[in-house]
Symmetry: C2
Subunit: 425 residues, 2 copies
């Protein structure tokens, strides 16, 4: 038989400890900020019946990009391409018993059969953050602040990203009552505006004409509006933008300075019903949307449950790590192991006992009692990013004083076990 390949399945990644350190760092910052705002972690199955996604997720994803198959019992199942349908199912299942405001987050993997490319994988990780049961804009305020604080917790400065905010209710009003498009045309126009940044002005104008006819001046005038106050007077007077105005005021009062109104922001998904937002990387090399979310108030209805107000976003690991690498924000990530205890000569038992003592004091220890040369043991320690080494030779075993070496500063000291504990804690 030919040898098996050592490559991972196409579009997926192996995470060796050094890759895992970066991912764990990202997850831990996500977790810290979500929990600071009172969000609790939940999880659901990797597999769901395909019908769940048929009712919730875009057709393109289910029909062309999902991992869908028939299980051994004849059920059609799909590996989750996103978390929101599972979350909606879980909330609907216990809608009466759950306590509101309900704050939930999940960090887990999702699966899409797409052409692998830079920053896009067939298995990727996402954090989903959602709040249920809050109708007023305190939900928007909290979640957008949380999203912005995630960026700040990674060391991002205000100028490295901007927060674009829009309202789907406002868009409906403008396309329907102001531009007089019917529901079908308004939907087509929404999708066209969503792709505006990815096409030439001429192509956009042509496609806009094919939807609404020659007279696109009013549309173009709308799309050039850069602030709420630039909107048509009757739209402002209708009160539709009051929530947006308040949201911007409160964000600014709480020190979020890089939020801006953007009437072209749509956030593809069909289920958004109110305010939508997006975090945008301003770096010239990587000028693009990083993540976003919005208000969706009708998601549990498909289970026969009453509708419930909700606001949330999802954030991918690959986009996050590219942002960190692009802006030089990845910190020096050491091993979870604090010290390697390296025995030289016939000192295995002493090294063993010393390791046990250190572990009892809460220090993570990798013990090496093998017969390789000490240079090789030390080299492996450094490569594994372990910050300290202790040498246990026969003299040290006798005197119970051990050489502790700081592998960064290269300084070495002879210390008792108690002093080593104090130094490493």
């Amino acid at each position: 038989m030919a040898n098996l390949s050592t490559q991972p399945y196409k579009g997926t990644r192996d995470f060796y400890p050094e890759d895992m350190r970066l991912q764990k760092y990202i997850f831990s910052v996500w977790r810290t900020i979500a929990e600071a705002y009172g969000y609790e972690e939940y999880n659901g199955p990797t597999l769901e019946l395909t019908d769940l996604y048929r009712s919730k997720t875009g057709e393109e994803i289910v029909n062309e990009q999902s991992y869908t198959f028939t299980d051994r019992g004849g059920r059609e199942v799909t590996m989750r391409p996103e978390m929101t349908p599972t979350l909606a199912r879980m909330v609907a299942a216990r809608q009466q018993e759950l306590n509101y405001p309900l704050r939930l987050y999940n960090i887990g993997n999702r699966f899409r059969y797409e052409r692998p490319q830079k920053g896009r994988f067939r298995e990727f990780w996402q954090m989903d953050v959602d709040i249920f049961g809050v109708e007023d804009i305190s939900a928007e305020l909290e979640v957008i602040k949380l999203a912005s604080n995630i960026m700040k917790a990674f060391g991002a400065k205000d100028e490295m990203y901007k927060i674009r905010i829009n309202s789907r209710k406002l868009v409906s009003l403008l396309l329907g009552e102001y531009l007089k498009l019917d529901i079908q045309d308004a939907l087509r126009m929404t999708k066209l505006i969503d792709r505006k940044d990815k096409m030439s002005e001429a192509a956009f104008a042509q496609q806009a004409e094919s939807i609404m006819g020659k007279d696109t001046d009013k549309l173009m005038a709308l799309l050039s509006i850069k602030s709420i106050d630039g909107l048509p007077a009757d739209v402002i007077e209708s009160g539709t933008v009051e929530d947006l105005r308040q949201l911007f005021e409160k964000l600014s009062a709480e020190g979020v300075n890089n939020a801006q109104f953007d009437l072209t922001l749509m956030r593809g998904l069909d289920y958004y019903t109110g305010i939508v937002f997006e975090i945008f990387d301003t770096s010239p090399d990587n000028n693009r949307s990083m993540f976003g979310g919005g208000r969706y108030d009708d998601l549990t209805a498909v289970f026969g449950a009453p509708s419930i107000p909700a606001f949330g976003f999802a954030y991918g690991d690959a986009v996050m790590s590219e942002f960190l690498i692009g802006h030089n924000l990845v910190p020096d990530l050491a091993s979870s192991t604090k010290v390697a205890v390296l025995s030289i000569g016939d000192t295995a038992e002493t090294a063993q006992n010393l390791s046990s003592e250190l572990r009892k004091a809460g220090i993570n220890v990798a013990l090496d009692t093998g017969e390789r040369k000490i240079e090789n043991k030390l080299k492996a320690t450094i490569k594994n990013k372990i910050p300290f080494a202790i040498f246990v030779g026969e003299e040290e075993a006798k005197s119970q004083m051990y050489s502790l070496k700081d592998l960064k500063s290269q300084k070495e000291q002879k210390l008792s076990t108690a002093d080593i504990v104090q130094k490493l804690k």
Copy 2:
């Protein structure tokens, strides 16, 4: 269209925050102990080419219990039923660059299409712990101590579990040279002994006869041996049990008192080549194997890589939580949220500012500025297992002194923000 079901896919679980707390507790203890011994976390893809499992995993699992399907590109893929094949692939891919001893652990989900029953799910979580590059029994000593320390870290007493240890080399010697079985019959006998506890004595004797003929006395005598010294003299003299003897001595010297020799322990998997072990629940209600592992030295050969000594085990989440529940070892698990800030009347802004202050001090805060009655807000806080509540009424907003209530002791105090921080940190 009929309403969608809110049930999870058969054999899988939804983890609401209260379920997640127990799982996170289990994972965090696993992680703490594995890292104390210098193991670093890795991960691999959920999907692998099915051929990887064909070469490594038992036929029954691949052919009858796996989630196997053809992807949109025509590749036959399987959702991982276990982690070891992925790990072997990853180690083989970088065998030259990796640093030994190489200590790795993974905590992640696995998938098996089995009939769901108590403690057995179609999606379950496991910790895998493995050390590579150590030929002598210091690997066994370290990993078995680590496994035992996991039990202790969960609060298990020595008498709640025992550690059964055997040697596959010894079993080969006894079945081959001592009982004179050929390789095929020895393998059948191994599998029969593996199932011994699950069948009657008569059924065992009958099947043993069908393998080796009428004269099963020598076999029965062997299987009744309870200590290394009870083995046939020529087996002891051959040196085959020296490593076992040393292992028991060292385990005992390091305070592991519940390890015992068990010649009937086989640990199903075909790839074990040396010492095997198992942690066994001694509770009368749940008397069974919890988890185990062993030495496997040839696992990377199938990739064309040189073989490399390895020792490891895998441990499931459902078995662990049943042990904890059965022995009453589940601690009181609070929410990750420390305090709920509950505004009463027109105090949303004050409550908001107070929450921001507390978060800056590293305290996890759930803010509730909604218009529900304060009794309902408090009830939701208690149900969500948040240990403290702060009431922000109009008087408190004016005086900047807030009522902090400890929801366990029911004590309430009026405190400044600084005092609240000090109290909650």
